[in-house]
Symmetry: C2
Subunit: 389 residues, 2 copies
């Protein structure tokens, strides 16, 4: 099928482009290279070296003999979005084109406002352009499990049927997101649900868990095909950051009490889920939600697993909690559903099986991680001095 | 107390400034006069003539002997917000400074994006500036009953305790707003709740019903003190628009099946509620919700009541439904709570008692309504041609 990927230069975007193209889908995408700038801004860089988009596309063509179409531009520019969709006429649009980092959105008012503006306006432009150009296309939107927060009840997939004062209804599950970034995903969710209602668009909102992993198999063919791997305090997500810490002998640093529990998914599994979603579209007018995660861990258990994997690779690894820069529950109930993708055939990898490959891939770029050692520990804080009790 | 009003030039903003100042509060406010421009843009004007802000402030001083401080500027400009708060050091901030019109937000992609950007960024700037300047101040935020939509269960005030799969939690009530504008209020709600959590700010989110009415008593003293009264398809809300239709012999036009039921509140009662809220602040760090409405009606009943009031004033009034330009349930369950403001002492007027005054006030400006007759019926549609099934 014809799949348009917003944010095709990112960690997931570039990977998805290859993953889908290799499997016979026609792929096009857009990016404005902001992710590269943001990571540079916070002092990080990709542990695994990445080449320019032009070089990526060339290398991919050399190795796999296929073309991926690319347009450089910003989703906040409506005319650009319109032009891409008109030219490509996608059957599915996978929307990965947002500022995806919680700490980055917490830096200050400018970063908060930028993140909310960028993510909300990009999604609105997509919705309006779809309505104008391809109202039957399927919007596969990357949301996050973080939209739900950590309620004291089970988390269903988007909607739940409840009884309240003797009456029943099926309603969107309440959202309690934990950063200005995560809030943008909640805002998107509401906007997309509304667009499906008034315009009969169709969309699957993928509430994705935290992604980890260095690559998909198809990247082994040529190092120019690698996707980025961030490990700095802002763009490095927890398992990836732990692995990077491990390979340079940096203590693994769970935040606070370390009982924060989340759903996790390997990057190859994330790809599989997005493909499964795209090829199994909802009905016209339907807005549906899949919780896209494989395994559930607390951040202390994760640290112990990375420590084990590191030690199996001959690295001495220590774990020592540090003050939590975030405002979040550090011990809580957490039981989200994730049945729908399994029903479509999703069979995930196990994290413990993927850690050795990650450690080994990162060992090759130990120097690049070492060079940014001072950007791993958190300096961006959720709290503000002015607002103490 | 020191109350800062965002959107002090609006229908509610100017009214609140007078209402609070007359009652001994120290009032300052900001506005960028966008409401005047938006109404002009859609072809409307205020049925009741309004003077410039300078003339308003002068007239108010002449009549009541008090000063209201005014700064012209945009909440989307962070430095402006910061400067206002630093100079005034408010104890309460009443935030009415948003684009408040559902049809306006539905016009096209530009109006949708403008509305979401304007409302979300203004509120974010306020939250960040409060954290920096006056973290103990109380943010009284105008939300809307429209955030809840029309669920098939009772609507509590913001939060509800539910049991789901054998476990209990108290959660934010799910939001199902019905326009791009209403969605911005949902986004604000999530953003404000989060700011209270991470920064210990305090806020009351007023989920206000549809406001109607031509004035508060204090405006009788001088016609330069009048607040605006809109009746065009976009900025005219239902009771106000019906009254304007009645006085020029225009058929009253409920949309669709006419069973749409909402909560309503007179402008004087809205003022009373905002004062009650401001002088009874929540605890530091608390985010609370009041549902601010007095009486519940469906739009057909409203038309019948306005017809009766018109006929009592000697005007022949007809009622005839027209196609619904919106996408909304036209017959539905609707039972929202509104106890908390009553617990603080709120005792509302009855709509039937207020209609004669409205009709009589508008009769004086019949020519101004007649002049904009062709801007009363809806031309802005929720649906798009491209997205039919």
């Amino acid at each position: 099928m014809r799949v348009f990927i917003c944010g095709i230069d990112g960690y997931l975007g570039w990977t998805l482009a290859m993953y889908l193209s290799v499997r016979g889908h026609e792929v096009a995408g857009a990016d404005s290279f902001l992710r590269r700038k943001w990571v540079e801004e916070v002092g990080g860089h990709s542990a695994i070296p990445i080449v320019s988009m032009n070089e990526r596309l060339e290398a991919y063509k050399e190795v796999y003999g296929k073309e991926i179409t690319f347009w450089e531009g910003d989703l906040c520019n409506y005319d650009f979005v319109l032009r891409c969709l008109k030219e490509f006429q996608p059957e599915a649009i996978v929307h990965l084109g947002e500022q995806p980092c919680a700490p980055y959105s917490q830096i200050d008012v400018e970063h908060c406002v930028f993140t909310q503006h960028n993510n909300i306006v990009g999604t609105l432009n997509l919705l309006w352009a779809m309505t104008e150009v391809c109202p039957q296309a399927h919007l596969v939107k990357l949301g996050t499990m973080g939209e739900y927060g950590t309620p004291n009840i089970d988390i269903p997939e988007g909607f739940f049927t409840i009884e309240y004062r003797g009456r029943k209804d099926t309603l969107p599950f309440p959202k309690q997101a934990g950063s200005w970034y995560h809030q943008t995903k909640v805002h998107d969710t509401h906007n997309i649900m509304f667009a499906c209602k008034i315009w009969n668009l169709r969309s699957t909102d993928l509430m994705q868990g935290v992604v980890y992993g260095t690559k998909i198999e198809e990247m082994n063919a040529d190092e120019r095909l690698c996707t980025r791997f961030d490990f700095d305090e802002a763009f490095g997500t927890v398992i990836n950051r732990y692995c990077a810490q491990a390979v340079i002998g940096h203590t693994l640093t769970p935040y606070g009490k370390g009982g924060q529990t989340r759903g996790f998914i390997h990057i190859a599994d994330s790809m599989r889920c997005m493909e499964l979603t795209a090829v199994n579209p909802p009905e016209i007018g339907e807005y549906r939600v899949f919780n896209q995660w494989a395994e559930r861990f607390d951040v202390t258990t994760l640290a112990q697993e990375v420590k084990k994997a590191g030690e199996a690779a001959g690295i001495k690894v220590e774990v020592k909690p540090i003050d939590n820069p975030r405002v979040e529950a550090e011990k809580h109930y957490y039981n989200p559903d994730h049945q729908k993708l399994f029903d479509l055939g999703f069979r995930p990898h196990k994290m413990v099986d993927m850690l050795p490959e990650m450690i080994s891939d990162l060992m090759k770029h130990k120097d690049r991680i070492e060079a940014k050692r001072e950007h791993i520990l958190p300096t961006i804080k959720w709290r503000r001095d002015g607002a103490k009790r």
